[in-house]
Symmetry: none
DNA sequence: GATGAATGAGCATTCATTCAT
DNA sequence: CATGAATGAATGCTCATTCAT
């Protein structure tokens, strides 16, 4: 996917998208005005409407594009992973990398208010569901091997990404200074603990063996 | 705190707040109009402005009230807990109970867009920070006992509540049918795993066979 | 009905209606802008929308008011008539008097393009149909006495008012200089000829006497 | 004149005209947009402007074309008539036939709001006046023979076509189901009564002779 | 305290028209 | 001749807020 933030001269349509992304991320879809987009994109109102027809449509286009980009990164990461723990680590890392690389897109994507019309909303849910299914398929072997726990399906995303997501929200909201990527190890460890079966988890706890060992740190 | 959803006849001011909450939760603060609130509250525009002066002020009042209610429940829960694991469980349970009991307030509170003016925003952050500090103080003993891990402070909330929060968002957004409280045990188990020190955790894993080990708890 | 063109200071709502009528008559409903109305009425946009909600609604209000005024005059006229021929004469006179007295309202009423929404349109048709029924009831005796011809119902209005209407349209369109009321006698004579039974008509033709005369062609 | 409604593949220009007529008739000139015309004609905006330069011009072209077509039919009819009464009948018949054959053109022609610019308007009036003069010339003999009444010139059109026009308007507006041509005889009888001199008229009344006869019917 | 009329800046969107390709 | 991207003035309407009663 072509990167949006590039500084290469964009054609009108892309320029409008880029400007819209910036504005949407800054003030939210509702609060963003066509005029904001116009000023930022150097396009005329007419041109904007010629290409998109509606403010909603611009948002929808960005949404689809962004969602795609996000998930593709995520899936690519998992495909390369050699074991479950690495997969989880890579997922977290990719997730946070992406957010830090595209904070505007992230802010926009994760705001997810109704702003986008029901019609578009449906499309988005479908897209997400599809990607999610693909993801689960990639993880399947590890479920079968008893390494990852079988849970109610709605719990996977929260347990895996919930903490990272929460941290990212803080960062995106300006309520956190530090680079959230610094927490990747911690977060992936937590996700691993949350998702691993007791057996798999026990095997990775740093003590275990000498029952009498004293808790470092 | 006076419950808002009550059906007892409310005085004007409360009626306005109740109506505002409903409207804000439904369409977001930005999209909600004074007129929406007027219709729902049966008050006149003039009356609304007499009591609150600004749309922002209504939101701020609700925010303060809601935040207070939320945190008080949370803190009360932890105060009763007898050990760290129970504390975590009670936190998760209280969190989800509250959300299910007051979905509108939750939706409103967690939306947290800039909508609220910088001035109010500052107040809110302060309030949250204070409560958070109190919470940490309550947990302090278990840190000292080596039961809970010492982490970068910004990670506590995400690890503890992130998954629950993520699940709750899905539920509040209508993207999840099941009652999120059904996941309390699972979520608190995950939070425990994420926050416990290796030793404390190892003691609670359900296998551990190494005969000479003692399961604690 | 309160006359609109009065110069007595009007309350806002009436002022808006009066201004709207002027503008609508001048450029048509579509072409008239809210801003035109605002300037002419000295009201603010907000005020206009406070009272009417829609441009359409303003038009509809005028329409209802105008139609009522028009028909009431017409019906009152017929009620006073002593015989069929007088009734016809009075109808034509009232019709043209009204048009000359309220050219703007007439121009507006007779334009009758879709401009008014289907909903309002339905109401208008109903109103017209009701009045028309009343009118026919008033004329009934003369039908029963064999003075007025029985025709397909859709022909009465055209035969009675069609010529006057056509003339009025020319006048309202500025394509006719002379006062259309000058043609009242001529038009009512024509209407009488068109609607009277042969017997009733024969009795009023200015010659007739030479009983044996054959007019040949 | 080339018929517009033909289904033979049209060249661009004609296709545009045909589409414009349809759109103008449907929503009125003002409300019709170039884009409506573009969609219906399958032409591009550029092409439309290449051929006509202005929306007004399209309307004017249609107007001229339509007016010509209408009047030619009318005049041709009168030329064939053998006596005054037949002439009137043929005029009415031609008028209604034309309307029923080209309802869109009729709707468009008779709407006659200012929509067409003053310049074009002038041209149209001239055209109409010329045709009207020709028409009167054709009728002249019957005036001289005392068969048709001498009236103020502005009354001829209303008396002759007013009723038919009124009926046609109802039909074009969808407020009348029956085919207006069914009323030709009735309307031409009325026009004859309205325009004939008393003598000429008396000769055609169905009774006349037995002065003492009682009004059967 | 309550009411609702009034205000006017602001907004999304439309549309005739131009013009480079 | 045809195309469609681009333009920007204009429009109907919304909405927070004020204020006289």
């Amino acid at each position: 996917m072509k990167t949006i933030e590039t500084t290469v001269p964009l054609d009108r349509k892309s320029a409008i998208l880029a400007a819209a992304l910036a504005v949407f991320a800054e003030k939210g879809i509702e609060a963003a005005t066509i005029d904001d987009i116009r000023q930022r994109s150097q396009a005329s109102v007419g041109s904007i409407y010629h290409h998109f027809g509606t403010k909603e449509n611009i948002a929808a286009a960005l949404f689809a594009q962004g969602l795609d980009d996000y998930w593709n990164g995520l899936l690519a990461g998992v495909r390369e992973a050699e074991d479950a723990r690495a997969a989880i680590h890579i997922l977290l890392a990719t997730h946070l990398d992406w957010i830090v690389a595209r904070p505007e897109l992230a802010r926009f994507l994760f705001a997810r208010r109704q702003a986008v019309s029901p019609a578009h909303d449906q499309a988005i849910r479908q897209l997400t569901a599809d990607h999610f299914k693909t993801m689960l398929a990639l993880l399947k072997p590890w479920f079968q091997q008893g390494i990852l726990r079988r849970l109610a399906p709605e719990l996977y995303a929260p347990l895996l990404l919930g903490p990272a997501q929460e941290l990212a929200r803080h960062w995106l909201g300006g309520r956190l200074r530090q680079d959230p990527r610094a927490a990747i190890d911690e977060l992936s460890a937590a996700a691993w603990r949350s998702l691993a079966t007791d057996e798999a988890l026990a095997a990775t706890l740093s003590l275990q063996r000498p029952a009498h060992k004293e808790p470092g740190k």
